[in-house]
């Protein structure tokens, strides 16, 4: 499928010999016009805006992005700010837990759903519907459930279990777990759908062969099927990972960074410094650090996926 357009172009090229420059501009002109929004987006937004952000993160811009160049000052300040360091640590801790639990729960649910069970479609519907809801809705519902006085804790205490404690959103040491419960509620169904698609793409012959060899089911899953699902797993990790780095709405709705600064995340730090703190340089430096994080996740992945030449399509 990669060569049809090349053929289309070559037909015209054999008549006379249009200069390379002419060809560059006028070959498939309507296609270029049609792709203009995409080209503009790539050049202006994805490349232009990113470079702009990186450049101005090295200035002392305050209310307006017109500061003078100050080298790494913003970054030094960034890492001297406890709120930033707490944010980064929160993201690392939340991210690690979220990634592991999402993958494990998603896989377990997919395996269970794959067991020729009854009510399969009903169960899938139940597991995936939270994913259709926004993070704001997710955060607000769980905020209500975890409300220390009237939520789950209050209810169980009123019912006689007076020692019951579930005040995670009000407890600085537990608040990340509160975030995790809401995040997993929202995202595990999606991971399950991905994993299920992966499981169903594994050839039945593999199962038959494993059974003939007398390998127990759970071992077949772990040492044969899972490695065969590598593609799906990598996709899941990249998507979940880039979602984690962006984590913002859920925190705003569930805890708004509190109690204190115990559930702050980098995306929120960036937002606050850019739009309410009036310290754009600082916000841009933080944003650049987020970019760096994503690149650290993405580059090895891109290298693995597309590094070997000609492996793709």
């Amino acid at each position: 499928m990669a060569d049809i357009a090349v053929q289309a172009g070559e037909g015209a090229g054999s008549v006379g010999r249009p200069s390379a420059l002419r060809k560059l501009f006028f070959h498939n002109l309507s296609a270029k016009v049609a792709a203009l929004p995409m080209i503009a987006t790539v050049l202006v937004v994805f490349i232009g805006c990113t470079i702009w952000t990186i450049y101005y993160s090295f200035t002392n811009s305050k209310l307006l992005p017109t500061g003078k160049f100050v080298g790494f000052d913003q970054y030094e300040r960034l890492f001297a700010t406890s709120r930033w360091n707490v944010s980064v640590w929160n993201l690392v801790a939340y991210g690690a837990m979220s990634l592991i639990f999402t993958l494990v729960i998603g896989f377990i649910l997919a395996v269970l759903i794959d067991q020729k069970i009854r009510f399969e479609s009903a169960l899938r519907t139940i597991m995936l519907y939270p994913f259709a809801l926004s993070f704001i809705v997710t955060g607000l519902v769980w905020q209500w459930i975890m409300n220390p006085t009237l939520g789950l804790q209050g209810t169980l205490r009123n019912l006689g279990w007076t020692g019951f404690s579930f005040d995670w959103i009000a407890n600085p040491r537990m608040v990340l777990f509160a975030l995790l419960i809401a995040g997993l509620w929202h995202g595990t169904g999606f991971c399950m759908v991905l994993m299920l698609a992966g499981l169903r793409s594994v050839d039945d012959e593999v199962w038959k062969a494993a059974r003939v060899d007398g390998i127990p089911t759970w071992r077949t899953y772990i040492s044969i099927v899972l490695p065969m699902m590598r593609g799906v797993l990598v996709t899941a990790v990249v998507i979940i990972g880039s979602g984690i780095v962006r984590l913002y709405d859920l925190v705003v709705a569930l805890t708004n960074g509190g109690p204190g600064i115990s559930s702050e995340v980098p995306a929120k730090y960036v937002f606050n410094y850019m739009f309410s703190g009036g310290n754009i340089g600082q916000g841009l430096a933080a944003a650049t650090m987020m970019l760096l994080t994503v690149l650290i996740i993405m580059i090895p992945w891109a290298y693995l996926e597309f590094g070997g030449k000609g492996k793709r399509t």
Partner: protein, 303 residues
């Protein structure tokens, strides 16, 4: 299929077929786990709806599980018409209409542009198109926060900052990677002969697009539609940054109602507002069923 050992007779047991009891230990474990997880997923929905139908005294009684004594929709009416979002107290309805005004054009514009992009990428390749496409897909993983401030400046220069046009533009831009990928892959799966025959007959770029490609791409349009409607409706960040106070979408207003309320919080109104905000994507989800899953799966398989 996977892992249901008793089905085949390959093992040494020679007793022949016997009626399988339903309550094997294995099945009990499977169903218990599934029921446990189902409760986890359903619990918030139950709490949301039940709380929204209670009165405040009932809520203060402190049993979050209890069913409302006399279910009433007062809280829903309050949430829709008179709950306070910051300074004005007009309920969620303005936010709802703002979300509608944002979602409909954003969805149409972004899908149309992506369809044309995908079509150009597959059938009318030109030098550099694949590189642009690769950057586009790669770029979709860049956190929005990195591009947010420059985009604010661009929309300000275009004199659309704080208007619905700005939000529509931003949704179109950030919808482009995944939607273009979707359409590109779909157009690549169509038989090339169609395209070739149309070209031989002298049809040009746009004629082939409108008369041959578009009519054939209904399935992918449905997927894109679901992806965009739910995605744009659920957006918070772009709405809060680009829309301007007058045009805040429903998610932003909802968050303002719940998280910045003065005085004693009215939990029933809060939960009614939450249900109302979730209603549109849930409706899309339940109506579209398999298509939603397909959209999610398609949206996931990047690269």
């Amino acid at each position: 299929m996977a892992g249901s050992p008793p089905v085949e007779a390959g093992t040494v047991e020679a007793r022949g077929p016997r009626p399988k009891p339903f309550f094997t230990p294995r099945k009990i474990i499977i169903y218990t786990t599934l029921v446990f997880f189902s409760l986890y997923y359903l619990f918030p929905l139950y709490i949301m709806v039940v709380t929204s139908l209670k009165t405040m005294p009932e809520i203060r009684f402190g049993n979050i599980f209890a069913l409302p004594q006399t279910p009433n929709f007062d809280a829903w009416v309050r949430a829709w018409t008179s709950a306070c979002t910051g300074l004005n107290c007009q309920g969620l309805s303005p936010g709802f209409w703002n979300s509608v005004k944002i979602t409909i054009p954003s969805t149409i514009v972004s899908i149309f542009i992506a369809a044309v992009n995908g079509y150009a990428l597959i059938n009318w390749r030109f030098k550099g198109s694949e590189i642009f496409f690769a950057i586009l897909i790669f770029g979709s993983f860049i956190p929005y926060q990195v591009m947010l401030y420059p985009l604010v400046m661009i929309t300000r220069e275009l004199k659309i900052f704080g208007t619905l046009q700005a939000v529509i533009l931003i949704h179109t831009v950030f919808g482009m990677p995944i939607l273009t990928l979707l359409f590109r892959n779909y157009f690549a799966s169509l038989p090339q002969e169609l395209f070739k025959a149309a070209r031989v007959d002298g049809a040009g770029f746009w004629r082939i697009f409108f008369e041959i490609m578009l009519p054939m791409s209904l399935p992918i349009f449905v997927v894109a539609l679901i992806l965009q409607i739910t995605g744009i409706w659920n957006d918070f960040l772009f709405g809060v940054v680009f829309a301007g106070t007058q045009n805040y979408p429903m998610t932003v207003q909802l968050n303002n109602i719940v998280n910045s309320a003065q005085g004693t919080p009215e939990y029933n109104v809060n939960m009614a507002a939450t249900v109302l905000t979730g209603l549109v994507p849930l409706t899309v989800y339940f109506i579209s069923g398999k298509w939603f899953v397909r959209g999610v799966a398609a949206g996931a398989v990047k690269g």
